[in-house]
Amino acid sequence: MSNQSTSPAPHAKLNPNGAGAAAVLAAGIGSFLVAVFAILADKAASIKSLMNFYKPTGPLSGVTTCAIVVWLAVWALLHRRWSWRNVEVGRVTAAAFILLFLSLLLTFPPIADLF
């Protein structure tokens, strides 16, 4: 994902869009990871057993915990890199929307079962 600085408008210099873009992209990645980890846990017995963090809930506990932890880590990392600059927010949000859309699709069992 591009993080090149664009030529910012005067107001944007005072309040750069980087922190917001980092949050949006991280949310897209976090959502996508929920779907990816769920598919992995469903398809591979070894991953399913690894994801069994809390036995009464089963692999769902590990799937969601891993997705949340990675989401927060990615968010912190992107925030650190982008928070004081302007980024190409259009491209960042487009990527986030694609990931969000894919996560909605991939959590739907008939589609997840295609893998």
Binding site: A9, T93, L100
Partner: protein, 190 residues
């Protein structure tokens, strides 16, 4: 009139946290549109700004309470495995649904989708609350960022709607019940 402990928790999860989130979501969307419908609109007051910030934070808290109570309190009761020789599956909703071809898809599609798609809600609304709190009135000068936040709130409404619909249908077909009974109202016998 009485309710079981599991039934009460299911009600708190679905009707308390989940349904309240769905209602709050429509309010947040209306407020977003109202204040940003025109870039030349009236200046937004500080107290309005604070209200929406608290509102979105409360929505994020509701979303987390919903998924955490669903995943760690209700779901273990839903997926409990009956001991061998159990005659009635009434206390084992997942097994009850899977025992009949006419209800199996409520689990294999409904619950399987619900348990994962619901987690997109706290991710989306937490992001929206943080971005809004960080930018406040200056979101006006970041239209793409504003559109992104709004879209994620819409997505959270969709995901919460899917989870809520299947939650209600699952509970209709195989209610999560059991545990101690809490008497609510003493009825008169006729």
């Amino acid at each position: 009139m009485e309710i079981t402990v599991r039934g009460l928790w299911t009600m708190i999860h679905g009707m308390g946290f989940g349904a309240l989130y769905l209602m709050a979501c429509s309010g947040a969307l209306v407020e977003f549109y109202r204040r940003h419908r025109s870039p030349l609109g009236p200046e937004i007051k500080e107290e309005d700004e604070r209200f929406l910030r608290i509102y979105l934070t409360a929505m994020a808290a509701l979303a987390w309470l919903t998924v955490l109570s669903g995943t760690y309190i209700i779901y273990p009761w839903y997926r409990a495995v009956p001991p061998p020789g159990t005659a009635s599956l009434a206390a084992f909703p997942q097994r009850l649904l899977m025992s009949s071809p006419s209800t199996a898809a409520w689990h294999s599609i409904g619950m399987e989708w619900k348990e994962h798609v619901a987690w997109l809600v706290p991710i989306s609304i937490t992001m929206a609350a943080v971005v809004f709190s960080q930018y406040r009135r200056s979101l006006r000068i970041h239209p793409e960022l504003r559109a992104a936040v709004l879209s994620f709130v819409w997505a959270s409404l969709l995901a919460a709607g899917i989870a809520g619909f299947f939650g209600a249908m699952l509970n209709k077909n195989a209610p999560v019940t059991g545990g101690a009974t809490i008497p609510l109202v003493e009825g008169e016998q006729k």
